[in-house]
């Protein structure tokens, strides 16, 4: 803003001095001697632009401070006493754009001439300004400007506000001074401009209940700005006392500041010129594009004001160990002042705090141990280690535990969350809900056949991913069940788990394929195998049996297409399923192994393949072992007709196959296998079998 030129021209044009130009008044030497005619039009234009800019982007600050050193309070009092403006003036609406056009003509028309001497600058110019009905009118219209101007102190009550009026004006002018460094665009102002269009703006600034209300926050933020300013000479004592009293008056902000005082041992919220205020990044309504506030180049948004406590809910804290480490490091760095770096304080402590807080917001989660696993785990281990050491040294003492406040997950999905003063979008909601800005939607092809192989594959992969998410929830529920839950809770949890399991199971089955081949697409993908393996413990016995039989019936396909050898992941879960099978079920499954192709005479293709596959062989062994276990146990078997025959046939077949072909090492060799074979087979075959199996495994199958 080039306000420096303006006041000179303005005074030449017999305009009332806007407060923002006060600073320039001292500069102007030959105001009277200017070429009034030539510059008049320019001045008018400049002034128009200037006023418009000021109203839109915030008052220019650099002028006021320089001028009011004389006796700032006087003109203010005078100001405050001024009667309302003459009726000619239209009432000013809160919206800024309408303000300036109306104000401008008023200024020009009613600007009192004369009284332009330099000596009268200080009080008289002010008085002159105050005499101007337009100016006085602006006081009444102040609420609108207040909503624009972040400098206005937000107070808890109207009455206080009234008392504060002159001072508020003063304060606002201080706020404007800050803009001197150059930035026209101040976040709060811009945002307020946007906000000012919202209805019911008036009482808002008094209402501190709105969590994200911009204006109130911004007014509250003033306190910080004054701590920034070189109060020294400029600040009237009145203001000084005013500011600290504002915490007294509006208690709420400061009490809510308390938690943040804990973070990193921040200085107290009492504003004083040198100590930085703890700042809080504040959530705001979304602003995009042209509306988006721009941070000033010289001040990060955080340094402009103390933002009222506006954390969305309880906020996570640093782990106490972490805090201790940080403070230790800080102490260490403070102890070494010798090597002083000219650039070392490029970031002020406030800015650092602000960023820390911003990041802390993003850390909120219901389940920190899950979401922030490495951090939590690291400090948990450190705690444990310390506890162990202390155990030796000082006896048992509870190491400081991190108490993360329980955070209720935000129910509403705010796709784009904008924190005031931040640069663009923050990752707050991205952990759980990806930003809508990046919306990758797969084009859905309705016809299965039309999809090419790659697309089908992608579909399967996507489906598996979704199912995995549900599976993770199921497993989480399982883990939580281990904790002591209330009766009702546990039941509810069980039901939910059931539903989810059902869902996954049904989803795994491909709708279009025939009954037997349902699971295949998912099963051919290694991640699908992992999914199934983890799902099996949760399935009912029947469902699990179905899965098992499906696996065995498609074993050749699975084995041949198991490029990355991920089939073994299914083994442990299937083994458990096998352990619960009845004899008839077992026989049914075993049949799959022994079915041969119609046109092949020797042995089953499946069996020969099985011998070459770790998984297949292990599965076979497990099945046989189960059969043997059942047979040798005392439990009545309830076999169906033909079961025993099938059993013996199978055993023979398997034995002959195993003894003939080279075997791979199975995942697990059950110990009762050879006992089984001994019962049915002759010694020679057994011997051969045994040596074959042993050569595969490398150890004795059975000491004999």
């Amino acid at each position: 803003m080039t306000d420096s030129e303006q006041p000179e021209t303005e005074t030449a044009v017999s305009q009332p001095q806007w407060p923002e130009n006060g600073g320039q008044w001292s500069d102007e030497e030959g105001g009277a001697g200017m070429d009034e005619c030539g510059l008049a039009e320019m001045a008018e234009e400049d002034e128009e632009i200037d006023i418009y800019n000021n109203e839109t982007f915030g008052m220019d600050m650099d002028t006021e401070v320089g001028d009011t050193e004389g006796d700032p309070t006087n003109p203010l009092f005078k100001f405050g006493e001024k009667p309302p403006a003459p009726p000619a003036l239209p009432s000013l609406s809160p919206s800024s754009p309408s303000f300036s056009p109306r104000a401008r003509p008023q200024l020009r028309v009613q600007g009192p001439p004369g009284r332009r001497g330099r000596g009268q600058r200080g009080g008289q110019a002010m008085a002159q300004m105050f005499e101007d009905p337009a100016v006085v009118r602006t006081v009444e219209g102040r609420p609108s400007l207040q909503s624009l101007d972040s400098a206005i102190v937000d107070v808890g009550s109207v009455s206080y506000w009234d008392d504060l009026d002159p001072d508020a004006w003063m304060l606002s002018s201080y706020e404007r001074t800050r803009h001197a460094s150059g930035s026209v665009l101040q976040d709060p102002a811009i945002v307020c401009v946007m906000d000012s269009h919202a209805p019911g703006r008036g009482p808002n600034y008094l209402d501190s209940h709105y969590p994200f209300s911009n204006s109130s926050g911004r007014r509250g933020g003033l306190r910080g700005s004054y701590s920034n300013r070189p109060f020294g000479q400029r600040c009237p004592s009145q203001i000084n006392t005013m500011l600290p009293s504002s915490p007294i008056v509006s208690r709420r902000p400061f009490t809510t500041q308390q938690p943040y005082n804990q973070v990193g041992g921040l200085p107290s919220p009492r504003p004083c010129p040198s100590t930085p205020q703890p700042l809080t990044p504040k959530m705001m309504q979304l602003r995009f594009g042209a509306n988006s506030p721009r941070p000033s180049p010289f001040y990060s948004p955080s340094s402009n004001r103390v933002q009222r406590f506006r954390f969305p809910g309880p906020v996570t804290q640093l782990h106490p160990q972490h805090r201790r480490l940080l403070s230790q490091r800080q102490q260490r760095s403070q102890r070494k002042p010798d090597s002083w770096d000219p650039y070392c304080n490029l970031m002020s402590a406030k800015e650092k705090e602000w960023i820390i807080r911003l990041q802390m917001i993003q850390l909120q989660s219901e389940n920190p141990h899950l979401d922030d696993y490495y951090y939590q785990e690291y400090y948990r281990r450190m705690e444990a280690k310390l506890a162990e050491e202390e155990l030796g040294m000082r006896g048992k003492r509870e190491p400081p535990k991190l108490t993360t406040p329980y955070v209720t997950k935000m129910d509403s999905y705010t796709p784009v969350v904008h924190i005031e003063g931040s640069l663009g979008q923050v990752a707050v909601s991205t952990c759980f809900s990806p930003r809508r800005a990046i919306n990758a939607v797969a084009a859905h092809c309705p016809h299965e056949e039309l999809k090419d192989i790659r697309q089908q594959r992608l579909d399967v992969l996507k489906k598996i991913e979704k199912l995995f998410m549900v599976l993770l929830e199921v497993e989480e529920g399982q883990r939580m069940k281990a904790q002591v839950l209330g009766e009702g809770e546990e039941k509810g949890l069980m039901e939910k788990t059931e539903i989810k399991v059902e869902y996954i199971y049904s989803q795994l089955q491909h709708p279009d394929l025939e009954a037997e081949e349902e699971f295949l697409p998912c099963l051919l993908v290694s991640k699908g195998k992992q999914l199934l393996a983890r799902l099996l413990p949760f399935l009912s016995h029947d469902a699990a049996l179905k899965v098992l039989s499906m696996v065995t019936s498609h074993l050749p396909v699975l084995m041949s297409r198991d490029a990355d050898e991920s089939l073994p992941v299914l083994y442990p879960s299937l083994r458990i399923v096998i352990g619960g099978m009845t004899f008839s079920q077992l026989i049914g499954v075993l049949k799959d192994f022994t079915t041969s192709l119609p046109d092949s005479s020797d042995g089953s293709v499946c069996l020969s393949l099985v011998c070459q596959s770790k998984f297949g062989l292990s599965l076979l062994y497990a099945l046989l072992s189960q059969g043997e276990r059942l047979l040798s146990s005392d439990v009545p078997l309830e076999p169906s007709i033909g079961d025993f025959e099938t059993w013996t046939d199978t055993v023979f077949l398997v034995a002959s196959q195993l003894s003939q072909s080279a075997l791979v090492e199975p995942l697990l060799l059950p110990s009762n296998l050879l006992t089984l074979f001994c019962r049915y087979l002759d010694k020679r075959t057994i011997h051969q079998l045994k040596s074959n199996m042993e050569s595969a495994t490398g150890y004795l199958a059975l000491p004999s």
């Binding site: 940080l326 770096d341 650039y343 970031m347 960023i355 820390i356 991640k527 990355d564």
Partner: protein
Amino acid sequence: MTIQHNTGTLPSQEKHLVLLRDGRTLIGFLRSIDQFANLVFHQTVERIHVGKKFGDIPRGIFIVRGENVVLLGEIDMDKPCDTVLQQVSIEEILEEQRLQQQAKQETEKAKVTALKDRGLSIPKADNLDEY
């Protein structure tokens, strides 16, 4: 996940080391950050490692866009440096790097031709199962 660790002591007497997504390693004084982990590095040095040798290329001031940061850590100057790494000149390390890249490309090519001869092909990333 967070960058709180360093900001407490940003009046940095300590240098920081950042690993970028393209594999570059930068070492310098971290002067400023923002919530996206955009970094301002001062008196930056790019360190190239080849085998047991490394070389430092002075780069001046770096502004790194946050999305390219893999990890960032503080270098503890106080810790005893008992490394086996041996510092060499810039020309030498660049030469070493070039040779390393060349060797890698050659082995890759040989592998691909060998597989092709056998009728196999290493699937590229988009054909793999896992996301």
